[in-house]
Amino acid sequence: MIQLFNVFKIYEGEVRVEALKDINMHIKKGEFVFLVGPSGAGKSTLTRLLNREEIPTQGQILVNGKSLIRMREREIPYYRRNIGFVFQDFRLLMDRTIYENISFVMEAVEMSGSEVKERVPAVLEMVGLQDKGDAYPHQLSGGQQQRVCIARAVVNDPIIIIADEPTGNLDPETSWEIMNILLAINKRGTTVIIATHDREMVNRMKKRVIALDNGLLIRDEERGEY
């Protein structure tokens, strides 16, 4: 499903940064993968490449057999509908209700009004926030906001969820709740990739771990640890 072949990403500038060096990996459909490593290891660069915000300096990336390098500009929006993003800082629209935050992204991909009315309550129920539709983000706790962010990421039925430090701002108990929601989503067949440096969480989950350090892939283990 996701294949990287000899991927390099080098930023030329005053200081030359080799963000990714010769990365090879293969993530199959329905996998649950942790992407670990210290800050600056290349995790964020990798997610930006997968979202086609950037293209690699060298190498090939295939998603669902389709090359992200040869992809045309106007195909990018449609490609991105395959991926749902979850952020450390949630990135909710503060002047809109929870319901509107989610309906907003459905409208953005031009779903009809009836689809919106049907899907939004369903995903809110999935993350356990069915009675918070009329609340505003600031009225919710961090964990609840992150659940809204997850609901928003899955509402358009992506085949891949990429979560960038989803538990970075949350206490351990809440982190565990969030992880369980992501696990549930994974059980339905969605590929889940989580970039994190939450050592305890990774060790407890016993899932595939891909470790990056200084732009190099240093470890790739099934049922791995941090």
Binding site: N51, P77, R91, E110, S112
Partner: protein, 296 residues
């Protein structure tokens, strides 16, 4: 972009116009003012062209016959006048015909004959049409040389002055309109840029979840178009009220002035103003959207 999601764009455009009320009103006003000036200048030009055209078609010389000359002698002058170089057409207008034509122009209420004491004050006259406008002065001079002709009158000079005025109006009008039009485009594009900036978070999320550029740009483009159209509508409404007011007044008090009343031409002016306003709006928003969204 799907046609069925246009209503999302329209809703968002209205939202943003409401949110940036002051800027929106300023943009609409600028468009309205520039198009109002354009409309005024345009109608003025059309009217003076109309006036010039009317005068040109009446570019004829009136040769008044001395009152002491008998009707017979007056009629015999025709051949002499026809012989003058450059004359195309000669028509004899007796004083009785002259009086009744004035009577007709002023309407039945005015009792001309009664006012002047039952005596016809008008002389017999010849109405001479020239082949070309520039021959009029020479013909007039020749006619003046005929002993029986007491006075010669023609409208030479007026037409030229009028055409010069038309040209001047057109140039000044265009300069003013271009200047204010640029200001309108600038203001609209600034308004839209502010809107884009205030919505940058939303735009970021939209891009991330795979909204097409068309969908993202839609509301901003519509906002510009609507601003332009509203401004133009305002200009047309004001122009229409003023112009019909002026026309009615002129027809009441200065009814010899040939004002332009052809509704087809006037409506074409209005329609063009609406199209121009909408284009200004589209231009303004396109400018501010041009670089935005490049690269994702």
């Amino acid at each position: 972009m799907r046609l069925s999601s246009v209503h999302y764009n329209i809703r968002d455009a209205f939202h943003s116009m409401k949110r940036n009320k002051i800027m929106t009103v300023a943009s609409i006003a600028t468009v309205a003012i520039s198009l109002l000036i354009l409309g005024c200048a345009w109608l003025l030009v059309l009217n003076s062209q109309h006036l010039a055209g009317t005068m040109e078609s009446e570019l004829e010389i009136n040769a008044y016959i001395n009152k002491n000359v008998t009707r017979e002698d007056a009629l015999n002058l025709r051949r002499e006048i026809e012989a003058v170089q450059g004359v195309e057409e000669v028509a004899f207008v007796s004083k009785e015909e002259g009086l009744s034509s004035i009577q007709e122009k002023l309407g039945e209420d005015a009792d001309i004959v009664g006012t002047v004491g039952n005596a016809n004050p008008l002389p017999d006259m010849y109405r001479v049409k020239a082949k070309a406008a520039d021959q009029v002065p020479q013909i007039a001079e020749s006619l003046d040389g005929i002993i029986e002709v007491e006075k010669v009158r023609y409208g030479q000079g007026m037409v030229e002055k009028l055409l010069a005025l038309t040209r001047w109006l057109r140039t000044v009008g265009i300069i003013i309109v271009v200047a204010i039009g640029l200001a309108a485009v600038f203001l609209i594009s600034t308004t839209i840029r502010i809107t884009v900036y205030s919505r940058r978070r939303e735009i970021g999320i939209m891009k991330l979840v795979g909204a097409t550029n068309w969908y993202i740009q839609g509301p901003f483009f519509l906002e510009g178009v609507m601003t332009g159209f509203l401004g133009a509508s305002l200009a047309v409404i004001v122009l229409h009220i003023c112009y019909s007011g002026i026309v009615n007044n002129v027809m009441l008090t200065l009814n010899f002035l040939p004002v332009l009343k052809d509704t087809n031409i006037i409506y074409t002016v209005y329609k063009s103003l609406l199209v121009m306003g909408t284009t200004l709006g589209a231009l303004g928003s396109t400018i501010s959207l041009k670089r935005f969204l490049k690269g994702s």
